[in-house]
C-alpha cells in the first residue's frame, strides 16, 4: 500500500530544487512541508472531516505535474467552459502551467497575471510579502501541502480607487491522460481601498484520468471595496477538489461569494471569512445539485471582530441518487462585534432514500447586542404539488425541475452578472435533465 504523505514529503526536496524562487519563498516552503509532515492529511477522527472521507482519494500515488504530457488544447476546445459571451480578463492554466496563448492579462488598470512571475518582480514584492501566506491559516496540513508544492496560480492586484472594467476568469484545465495528478494551484487576490472587482473561478478536467486539486486562494479586500466572486464547480466524475479560500475584509467592504456545485467526484469547499473592521458585509451563497455518488461538502466560517457588521449565508442543496451533501456553517462573534446582523440558512431536498445530507450550524456568540439567526431544513419534493402541476399538463420530470428550480431561485437572485445567471440556470436545467426555458 502506498503512503501518499511519505511519498510527497520525500519528493519535496527535488521539487524545491527545481523550482527555486527566492529565499523568502523557499523558507516558506520548507516550513510548510514540515507542517505537512507533522499534520498530514485530515482523517475522519478530525471533527471537521467527520462526514467527508479523503482516505479513498489518498490511495493513488499522484504525480505532482503531468510532466511528460504534451498540452495540445486550443481555446476552441475549451471555450464552452468560459463565460464566453462577455468581455473578460482570462488567466488560464493547463495542467498547472500558465497558458499565455489562452489568457488575456493586463498590467494597466490593475495587475491581472500569474503569481509565479509576479513573485520574481520587485514591483509586486511588497504586496506579495504583505499578503502571501499571511491570510491562509498556517497550521493546516492541506494548506501547508499547497504552500510546499505550489507552482502557479492567479495574481490579481487592484489598486486603490480602481473599478475593474471587466470581470476576471481564472480557469484551471487538466488534460492528463497518462497519470493521476495532484494539483496545488495558489491564487492571491488583493483589492486596495475603494476598488471593485468581479471574479469567476473554475477547475475543469478534460480527460478521464483521476485527479485531485488542493487549491488555496487568499483574498484581501481593502476599505470600502467590493468583491463579487463566483465559483463554478461542474467537473467530471473522476475529478476531486479541495478548495481552501480565505477572505480578509477591511472596514466598509462588501464581499459576495457564490459557489455553484454541480459535479466532481468529491468537492470540499472551505470558505473562511474574517472581518477586520467596522461595517463589513459578507455574503456567502451556494447552490448544490448533485447525483450519482457525488459528494459536496461546504464548510464555511465567518469571524466577526468589529461592530456594525453583517453576514448573510444561504446554501441550498438538491441531492439525487446516492449523493452526499455536507454543510457546516460556523459563525464566531467576538465580544467587540456588537450590533451585528448574522443570518444563516441551509435548505436541502433529498430526491431519493439513499441520498444523504449532514447539516450543522455552529454559532459561537460572545457579544450581547447582536441579531443572529440560523436554520436548516431537509425535505422531499411535495408530491401534491407534483400532481397539481402534472394535472396542468406539465410532465413529471419537468414539474420536478420547475419545483427544484423554484427552490433554488432565491439564491440566484444575488448573481449580479446576467451572463453568469444564464449559465447557472442552463447548468441546473442540464443537471435536472430538462429543456425548460426557466426565464419565461
Amino acid at each position: 500500500m502506498i503512503d501518499l504523505k511519505e511519498n510527497l514529503v520525500s519528493r519535496h526536496l527535488v521539487f524545491n530544487e527545481k523550482n527555486q524562487k527566492n529565499k523568502w519563498i523557499d523558507d516558506l516552503r520548507h516550513e510548510a512541508i514540515e507542517i505537512f509532515d507533522k499534520e498530514g492529511f485530515p482523517n475522519k477522527k478530525n471533527e471537521e472531516w467527520k462526514y467527508t472521507n479523503l482516505a479513498p482519494l489518498l490511495k493513488t500515488d499522484y504525480k505532482l505535474f503531468p510532466e511528460s504530457e504534451e498540452i495540445s488544447i486550443g481555446y476552441q476546445d475549451v471555450k464552452r467552459y468560459f463565460i464566453h459571451d462577455m468581455d473578460a480578463y482570462n488567466i488560464v492554466f493547463v495542467n498547472g502551467v500558465y497558458s499565455s496563448y489562452m489568457s488575456d492579462t493586463t498590467h494597466e488598470e490593475a495587475d491581472i497575471c500569474v503569481l509565479s512571475s509576479a513573485m520574481n518582480k520587485m514591483v509586486h514584492q511588497s504586496v506579495i510579502e504583505n499578503y502571501y501566506s499571511k491570510i491562509a491559516s498556517k497550521d493546516d496540513g492541506l494548506i501547508s501541502l499547497n504552500t510546499a508544492f505550489f507552482k502557479d496560480g492567479a495574481y490579481i492586484y487592484v489598486p486603490d480607487k480602481v473599478v475593474l472594467s471587466k470581470p476576471v476568469q481564472i480557469m484551471f484545465f487538466s488534460t492528463a491522460k497518462e497519470n493521476e495528478v495532484m494539483y496545488h494551484p495558489r491564487n492571491l487576490i488583493v483589492l486596495g481601498n475603494n476598488s471593485q472587482a468581479q471574479i469567476i473561478e473554475r477547475h475543469q478536467t478534460l480527460n478521464g484520468k483521476a485527479n485531485l486539486t488542493n487549491s488555496v486562494t487568499e483574498i484581501h479586500v481593502g476599505k470600502n471595496s467590493e468583491l463579487d466572486y463566483y465559483k463554478i464547480q461542474n467537473d467530471t466524475e473522476e475529478a476531486s477538489l479541495i478548495d481552501n479560500t480565505f477572505v480578509e475584509q477591511e472596514r466598509d467592504s462588501r464581499v459576495s461569494f457564490q459557489t455553484f456545485s454541480f459535479g466532481g467526484k468529491l468537492t470540499r469547499n472551505n470558505l473562511n471569512f474574517v472581518q477586520n473592521g467596522e461595517n463589513c458585509n459578507s455574503l456567502l451563497n451556494g447552490v448544490t445539485v448533485i447525483g450519482g455518488s457525488q459528494h459536496v461538502d461546504h464548510h464555511t466560517k465567518v469571524v466577526h471582530k468589529f461592530p456594525n457588521c453583517e453576514s448573510h449565508e444561504l446554501y441550498k442543496g438538491i441531492y439525487d441518487e446516492n449523493s452526499h451533501g455536507v454543510f457546516n456553517g460556523k459563525v464566531f462573534v467576538h465580544p467587540e462585534a456588537q450590533k451585528l446582523n448574522a443570518f444563516q440558512q441551509n435548505n436541502n431536498v433529498l430526491l431519493t432514500d439513499k441520498a444523504e445530507i449532514d447539516t450543522k450550524p455552529q454559532l459561537e456568540i460572545f457579544a450581547d447586542d447582536v441579531k443572529c439567526s440560523h436554520g436548516c431544513t431537509v425535505g422531499q419534493l411535495d408530491e401534491t404539488a407534483l400532481f397539481y402541476m402534472q394535472q396542468r399538463g406539465i410532465p413529471k420530470k419537468e414539474a420536478k425541475a420547475l419545483l427544484l428550480y423554484a427552490f433554488a431561485a432565491d439564491v440566484l437572485e444575488h448573481v449580479q452578472l446576467p451572463q453568469i445567471k444564464k449559465r447557472i440556470t442552463t447548468l441546473i436545467a442540464q443537471k435536472l435533465g430538462v429543456k425548460i426555458d426557466f426565464d419565461l
Binding site: Y388, R392, G393, I394, A406
Partner: protein, 251 residues
C-alpha cells in the same frame, strides 16, 4: 366523451372508496355530482385526473374512446381533462404567468403543436384575467402562495380558461367564495362552456348550481351513484337534505 363503468377504487391502506360508479358525459353537457361529506366525490375527481394515491381495482374510464386509466396525469391533461382543485397547491417561486405558460406549451408540445408565441400568450392572459377581474400584479405573484381561498379558486378558473380543456371538473369550486366571487367564477365557466366541451361540477351545496345550471344531477353516497335526475333534483336536495335519497336507495 367520458364513460365511467363499474369503477371501484381504493386508497393505499385498502379501504374501498368508490364502489361501482357508472357515469356518462356527452359533449355540451353539464353534470353535477352532489353528496354528503365522505361520500367519495373528491376521490372520483382525483381518480379521473389520475392521482396516484388511489388504486383502481375494477371498472373502466374511457375518454373519447381511449382508456384513461393507462395514462399519467399529464397525459390526461394533454387529452383535455382539467381538474379545478378543491385545495389548490401553493408553489413558491413559480409565478402564475410562468406556470401557465409552461403548462400551455408543454400541452402544445405533447399535442404536436408549435409553442404559443409570446404576444398571443400575453393577449390571452390579459383577456382571461380581465374576464375574471384578476389584477395584473396578481399574475406575477408565486402560484397560490398567500392567496385567499377566493383568489385560489378564481386562479383555478383562470387556468381552465387558458388551457381550454374538453372536460372541466370543478371540485368544490364554490367553497371559500363569497357571492360576488361566485358569480364571477360562474360567469367564467358559462363563457367557457360550448357544445363541444363538458363540465362536471362536484359540490356539497346547490348554491353554485343556481349559476352553473346542470343538465344532470347525480347523488353520490357511500361510493355509489344512488340517484340521478335533472336540475330540479338539486333544489329538492337543498330543501330536504340527503337522508331521504339514501333511505330511498336502501329500499
Amino acid at each position: 366523451m367520458l364513460t365511467i363503468s363499474n369503477l371501484h377504487a381504493q386508497i393505499e391502506d385498502g379501504a374501498e372508496i368508490l364502489k361501482g360508479i357508472n357515469l356518462e358525459i356527452k359533449p355540451g353537457e353539464v353534470h353535477a355530482i352532489m353528496g354528503p361529506n365522505g361520500s367519495g366525490k373528491s376521490t372520483l375527481s382525483s381518480v379521473i385526473a389520475g392521482k396516484e394515491d388511489y388504486e383502481v381495482t375494477q371498472g373502466e374510464i374511457d375518454f373519447e374512446n381511449e382508456n384513461l386509466l393507462e395514462m399519467g396525469p399529464d397525459e390526461r391533461a394533454h387529452k383535455g381533462i382539467f381538474l379545478s382543485f378543491q385545495y389548490p397547491v401553493e408553489i413558491p417561486g413559480v409565478t402564475v404567468t410562468n406556470f401557465i405558460k409552461t403548462a400551455i406549451n408543454e400541452t402544445r408540445k405533447a399535442q404536436g403543436l408549435e409553442e404559443m408565441g409570446a404576444s398571443e400568450m400575453l393577449r390571452l392572459i390579459r383577456e382571461n384575467a380581465e374576464k375574471l377581474g384578476i389584477r395584473k400584479d396578481f399574475l406575477s405573484r408565486s402560484l397560490n402562495e398567500g392567496f385567499s381561498g377566493g383568489e385560489k379558486k378564481r386562479n383555478e378558473i383562470f387556468q381552465m380558461m387558458m388551457l381550454n380543456p374538453k372536460l372541466a371538473i370543478l371540485d368544490e369550486t364554490d367553497s371559500g367564495l363569497d357571492i360576488d366571487a361566485l358569480r364571477i367564477v360562474a360567469d367564467g365557466v358559462n363563457a367557457f362552456k360550448n357544445e363541444n366541451n363538458a363540465v362536471l361540477v362536484i359540490t356539497h351545496y346547490q348554491r353554485l348550481l343556481d349559476y352553473i345550471v346542470p343538465d344532470f344531477v347525480h347523488v353520490l353516497s357511500n361510493g355509489k351513484i344512488i340517484k340521478s335526475g335533472g336540475k330540479e333534483l338539486a333544489h329538492e336536495l337543498e330543501a330536504r337534505g340527503y337522508d331521504w335519497v339514501i333511505e330511498e336507495a336502501a329500499i
